[in-house]
Amino acid sequence: MNARCIPLEHLSRRALLKGSLAAAGGGTVLNLGDLFSSAARAEAVRQQQKRCILIWLNGGASQFETFDMKVGRPTGGPFREISTNVAGTRICELMPCMAQQMDKITVIRSMRTSQIDHPQGIHLMHTGYAQAANVRFPELGAVIAKYCGTPGAALPNFIKISSNGDAGSGFLGPQYQPFALGHDGSLPPFARGSLPPEQEARRNALRSFLEDQYAIREQAETSKMHREAYASARRLQSALDTFKIDEQWKKYGERYGDSGFGRNCLLARQLVEAGVPFVEVGHSGYDTHADNFTGHKGLVPPMDQAWAALLTDLHERGLLASTLVVWMGEIGRTPQINNRAGRDHYVRAWSTALAGCGLKGGLVYGETDVDGKDVKSNQVTEGDFFATIYRALGIDPKTEHLAGSRPIPIAPFGSKVVDELLA
């Protein structure tokens, strides 16, 4: 329940209001929603054509069974370390494919976040903010849709596949609401029209006639937006084939591995390639309070293969330089192994990873102590993590939006970009 705001920004907003009101004799109406994000700035970001894929490990993957092993320690668990294609960097044996992609990714071993339970953690790691009673924060995907998306594109700007989190576009509004595909990548309800084309064309002609008549009488922005949404829904119909991957699967299925998650990763690549700025792909089951090791033995290898395939695929297509791949869950797992061979929730010291989009590859940032109980150096908070993601995508993390009358920066106030990660 953090309600934060910034004195400096209040003042600048007040000055702005005063200034413009004085200048225009009170006749100007400001579009406060865009006050801190000028159209020019958004356009500049858009032109860089940056993209983001979020691999979401729902339930919270164990850092000990992935990137931050404590072999031989009481907290270490049974798996071995393997070497990678980056000298000196060793990761869990459950990730042999990623071991060969380590030069492309940056691992952060020093995450410290604030929300230890699932719903709160899912909200936190999707928005950068703890839940608050009075503000509906937008998810990462909504912010990226707004700044990296192409207005008028046929495909939605924010797509989730088999994923979690229900903050959605929050106060950014329905234009940036996620287009959420099913677990198997299937389209959401009502996405596909069922009318025969000639009927659809006929009713569209009639509706367009009505809208044109009405637009002569009433010129409010609202109706324009309504018409634009109608146009975007019709454009989507022409692009629905982008959601089919059967042909591609024949060719790439082996690389991604025979798993639902693999298919969804391939779909994400196809969507990003078609210009979608943000796709989230979820992989569930990591909440291993019992049998953590069996659990991770089942979960991690298919994820490892699909993730590595995604990076390879993006790289081969020249997309990795402009596509940020984020790998995280909502929490990490405890150093202590409980009496059911499980690991519980832990946010004092855990791991995430980033790749592509101008980030340094082959880097491990931050470290935990010998048992993985605490961050030893270079702590990264959720705010720092989000700020770094936004900076990598060319979006100023201090960009603000108004929720009601309250200005809210996209990364929480006080967050620091981890410059060391950026090439």
Binding site: G173, Y214, E218, T222, M225
Partner: protein
């Protein structure tokens, strides 16, 4: 059509501050009424801003606007026809009276205020079952409970959430006194306090002490569940005799584990609450027992706050009239409505003062206030004009607002003839008030169509629902249905088209529309007529003119 004062006055008259004598549709003398004062103040500003005199709304626009605003549903085709053909010069005033007396008035007001008090995604584990609260709210509007009494009931929270209803409001903020302070000050006082949670407000008078002083009134509240009524949990707001809010200083200097000092309850911009001292040997019970209605405390902070907020409180009356004004005129005189502050002055200060003082002298009578607002010429302006803002700052054109999810669904059902068909079929309708389609979809896709600062934003999901969703279910084409009647050649095609427009847009079609729709409904193969009719009805249910109240 009613004779219009606004359209008749000349520009020089605009300069005068007093109301212009004229023939308004209502019988009473305008000068004595609030509506006259509203129009005079609004006109004065137009004159200052050099805004040309806008035209009044035509009868059909007014009919649809006021029907939606007062009853949350469009009129039926018959009602529309009767109103348009009525030659009575007082028909608008009579319509307003009829709508305000309709049972739908309370139903709609309950929808509107439920959203004010809870929003679409309220916090709190009890908030998703609001039947008890909504029933209470609806009864309050049926009885025209004064607004101060309404607010007092919610803030005093006597009784339980199922039978009395009102306590549900504070239960949203169970164990979060700081959130209660933010919400109560914004909702009832129009004051944004959340900045003062972490630091003294940089340019408003609010100090962190004001914030924690207000939160202290809620610090002793405890949620107690005791039994069930009507399948709803009876949840009480108990108040302990002890318990304080602790203040730890500026958030930026906060240290984990710092204990903080207890803060005394303090009225906003006012005095510290005087509390009787508890006896030295007094020990509070640990926590009220679950399953038993709680005992009242020896001294209630919450009741003191409820009295202070709702009794002779200038902020309270101003926040209320500003909010109600925005509900009918689109934007607050202070906008956004919950940010009344020195740095965000009213667009029409004298008008806000007048509204507030008359609201108090009329004993916080909401129905009276609403009648005055919708009877004003300002409310009854055209929606046409060059301004592209949905909510014009100087009220020089009617505002354009999206229909709420509730208004949309019930209006679709009425327009498509679904309600009439269902009533005639004698079938038992399952699913309560929001039957016919899947209410969860409608609420999710149409519930919050705005961008965070209250401006409409159309989304893809909403449009996909309109295009490919469940409207087909409402467009029944059985024998005796509205859609079927549109296929019957025993009525001239033009007359059928007119009925179609009256049923959906509450107006008669223009010449162009008549011929375009005749083209649509003239099909070579009679087998194809039902589908042509369905397309025609669909366009009218989904077009901008239907989507908005204008």
């Amino acid at each position: 059509m009613a004779k219009w004062r606004l359209a008749l006055v000349s520009a020089c008259v605009l300069a005068c501050s007093g109301p212009v004598a004229g023939s308004r549709s209502s019988s009473a003398s305008a000068a004595d009424e609030l509506r006259g004062a509203i129009d005079a103040e609004i006109r004065q500003v137009w004159s200052r801003e050099k805004i040309a005199l806008p035209a009044p709304a035509d009868d059909s626009t007014f009919l649809r606007r006021v029907s939606l605003d007062l009853t949350g549903i469009i009129p039926t085709a018959d009602e529309a026809k009767a109103f348009l053909d009525d030659a009575d010069p007082h028909k608008r005033a009579k319509l307003i009276d009829r709508l305000l007396a309709s049972p739908r008035y309370a139903i709609h007001q309950a929808d509107v205020w439920d959203l004010v008090f809870f929003g679409r995604n309220p916090p709190g584990e009890d908030s998703n079952k609001r039947e008890g609260f909504d029933r209470w709210l609806q009864q309050a509007f049926e009885q025209n409970l004064p607004y101060d009494a309404l607010a007092r009931a919610m803030l005093k929270a006597e009784g339980n959430s199922a039978e009395q209803g009102a306590p549900l409001y504070l239960l949203q903020y169970d164990r979060h006194p700081e959130d209660a302070a933010v919400a109560v000050s914004a909702t009832f006082l129009g004051v944004q306090l959340q900045c003062a949670r972490c630091h003294d407000h940089p340019y408003e008078p609010w100090k962190q002490n004001d914030f924690y002083g207000l939160a202290a009134f809620f610090a002793r509240l405890v949620r107690v569940k005791a039994g069930q009524a009507d399948k709803l949990d009876k949840v009480f707001v108990a108040e302990m005799n002890t318990g304080e809010v602790k203040f730890t200083g500026k958030a930026s200097e906060a240290k984990a584990g710092k204990e903080g000092v207890p803060v005394k309850p303090k009225f906003l911009a006012g005095a510290v609450l005087e509390e009787p001292d508890l006896a030295a040997e007094f020990k509070d019970e640990k926590r009220p027992k679950e399953g038993e209605p709680p005992r009242p405390p020896k001294f209630s902070r919450k009741d003191k706050l409820a009295e202070w907020i709702t009794t002779d409180n200038r902020l309270f009356a101003r926040a209320a009239v500003n909010r109600v004004w925005s509900q009918y005129l689109g934007r607050g005189l202070v906008h956004p409505v919950d940010n009344m502050s020195e740095s965000n002055p009213p667009s029409h200060p004298a008008l806000l003062d007048r509204l507030a003082s008359e609201f108090v002298s009329h004993h916080y009578d909401l129905k009276w206030l609403i009648r005055e607002l919708v009877s004003s010429d300002t409310y009854q302006l055209t929606m046409a004009g060059a301004t592209t803002e949905a909510q014009p700052r100087w009220f020089q054109r009617a505002r354009v607002r999206p229909l709420s999810a509730e208004e949309l669904l019930e209006s679709w059902r009425r327009a498509a003839g679904y309600d009439a068909w269902a009533a005639a079929s004698g079938k038992k309708i399952e699913g309560g008030r929001f039957h016919g389609v899947t209410w969860d979809y409608v609420r999710n896709f149409f519930g919050e169509p705005n961008n965070g600062v209250g401006d409409f934003q159309g989304g893809l999901q909403e449009q996909l629902y309109l295009d490919n969703g469940e409207l087909n279910r409402l467009m029944v084409q059985d024998k005796g249905s509205f859609l079927e009647s549109l296929t019957k050649a025993d009525e001239p095609l033009d007359a059928r088209i007119e009925r179609l427009f009256l049923a959906t847009l509450s107006r008669r079609p223009s010449t162009e529309e008549r011929s375009r729709f005749a083209e649509q409904l003239t099909v070579k193969d009679p087998q194809k007529l039902p589908e042509a009719v369905r397309e025609a009805v669909w366009t009218l249910l989904t077009c901008s003119e239907f989507r908005f109240n204008h």
